[in-house]
Amino acid sequence: MLRHSKAIVAALACALVTTGALAEGTLEKIKSQGYITLANRDASIPFSYYDANQKPIGYSLEICLKAIDMIKKKYNMPNLQVRYQLVTSANRIPLIANGTADLECGSTTNNLEREQQVAFGYTYFVTGNRWVSKKSAHLKTLQDLKGKTIVSTAGTSNLKEITEINNKENLGMNIISANGHPEAFQMVETGRAAAFVMDDILLYSLQASSRNPKEFEISNVSLSLQPYGPMMRKGDDEFKKAVDDAIGQIFKSGEINKIYNKWFEKPIPPKNIDLKVPMSAELKKIIANPTDSGDPKAYE
């Protein structure tokens, strides 16, 4: 029976590989379908999230929608529709890789490891990996986290990084994974976890919209730089060039400044809170010189 099951698995693997070889590029796919599927998030404020009417909005989403408008004009697809596919940190990469979504615009970190599975367009935001905890806990340095219960979101580069640091520095932390950012933040609120490790901009927006923002503090220590970029299928150079050209145009024309101002320096839905985060030096640098590098050193 074992011999037969090996043959069955091999046959299945061959079948799946051949279907991969026949796949068309994204531009042909969306032209023949008449729509492009955008992967969005539900709670990555302010990059990609739902407003009070469950409509997808956000900074990354707006950049991608403008890029799609430019692609529609350039490749003569005036009636191209945009459909949305909700994804989570855990399933965004599989859903892009298998074709369920064509372009993901959220808070996905571009790094070298992920570039083996998917491709990224030009980086449109740079953030750092920090943690949020209650002020009363006084967790200022990495050593303060020793032996504590730490939470991060499933499927994120932050969870992977803190797991590796825990092992390397022998911190003996107990690391749990939550299904989403709000759930992880709630664990810190209720005391089930001491700290939530995540990109600082996401922590900042969760803190700002919490019931008692003054109760929490975000660490000064940054574990690594996290560049955000749009995610698409690997090996599709034509589509990537189209997306990069469009985003490059948004950067060059200065339209990016208006978009940034709208989401980071003005009140945003759903609670009309103003995040008041001025554009960082790293972001100004990559707007002047766009890059799609997955190496954090390219952003320092």
Binding site: A13, T19, G20, A97, G99, A154, N167, S177, K234
Partner: protein, 253 residues
């Protein structure tokens, strides 16, 4: 489909530094078995007793048993798991609730998972025990009375030995179910086999390899259970005991 195959990922180091991904999954299997076996002990003891009591002729005992079974049978396992983990600590007195919430992981997830799984399976076993006892012809009970045995002695020497042999095949299914249902505990943070396969997929992006390995491990485990229970059935078989009653044979399927 644009998937990047890599079966060697099973032998790559997992980020937490505990060893290869395969080792990571096998530790998950150990947690699955620890949860399933502890819950199985609870389920067998409570289920066997409640099922037997429901066949006695004391009306209030029967009603209490029925109420217990209906409560746990009518709510989905996942909802029960969440109730045990999130709601029960809040309903208990503050000191006890806080102590439960402070329980260091993984015990904070393990204890509710075992209790939930144990009680959920106990009602299924109670139903099966009741059905197997009731499938015996009434003559067995009357014969016991005629021989001067008390109700307890009738159960102990006449009814239960036959009922237990009838219930062994359905019990095999329940044993396999409790191993499979232990995967629901991943929703409350217990890192058993399915939870670790999901975590492996999220760290390595190799979704097929991770879940194929988990599938094979579950199948082998359940195969061992089936073969083990078949051995038990052979060992306790009394030739001619059950086949003598046609009603009993129907209940065995």
């Amino acid at each position: 489909m644009n998937y990047h195959w890599n079966w060697a990922i099973l032998f790559a180091q997992e980020p937490g530094g505990s060893g290869t991904y395969l080792h990571y999954l096998l530790v998950g299997l150990a947690w699955t078995l620890a949860t399933a076996l502890a819950a199985w002990l609870i389920a067998l003891s409570i289920g066997g007793i409640v099922g037997t009591l429901r066949t006695t002729n004391h009306p209030w005992v029967v009603r209490a048993g029925n109420a217990y079974v209906e409560i746990f049978r009518n709510v989905p396992l996942l909802v029960q798991m969440f109730l045990w983990y999130f709601v029960v600590p809040e309903l208990l007195p503050a000191a006890l609730g806080d102590w439960i919430k402070q329980m260091p992981p993984p015990w904070g997830s393990y204890v509710p998972a075992v209790l939930c799984l144990g009680l959920y399976t106990s009602v299924r076993i109670a139903e099966q025990t009741k059905a197997s006892i009731q499938s015996l012809p009434r003559g067995q009970r009357y014969a016991g009375t005629a021989m001067g045995l008390s109700q307890f002695q009738t159960y102990r020497y006449v009814i239960l030995p036959q009922a237990v042999r009838i219930i062994l095949p359905p019990l095999t299914s329940e044993f396999m179910n409790i191993i499979k249902n232990s995967s629901v505990a991943l929703t409350i943070g217990l890192m058993e086999l399915t939870g670790r396969a999901k975590s492996m997929q999220e760290f390595s992006f190799q979704v097929f390899e991770a879940f194929a390995a988990a599938t094979v491990i579950y199948m082998i485990t359940n195969l061992v259970v089936v073969l083990g229970m078949r051995w038990v059935e052979r060992k306790v078989r009394v030739p001619g005991l059950i086949s003598a009653t046609r009603g009993a044979q129907a209940a065995a399927h």
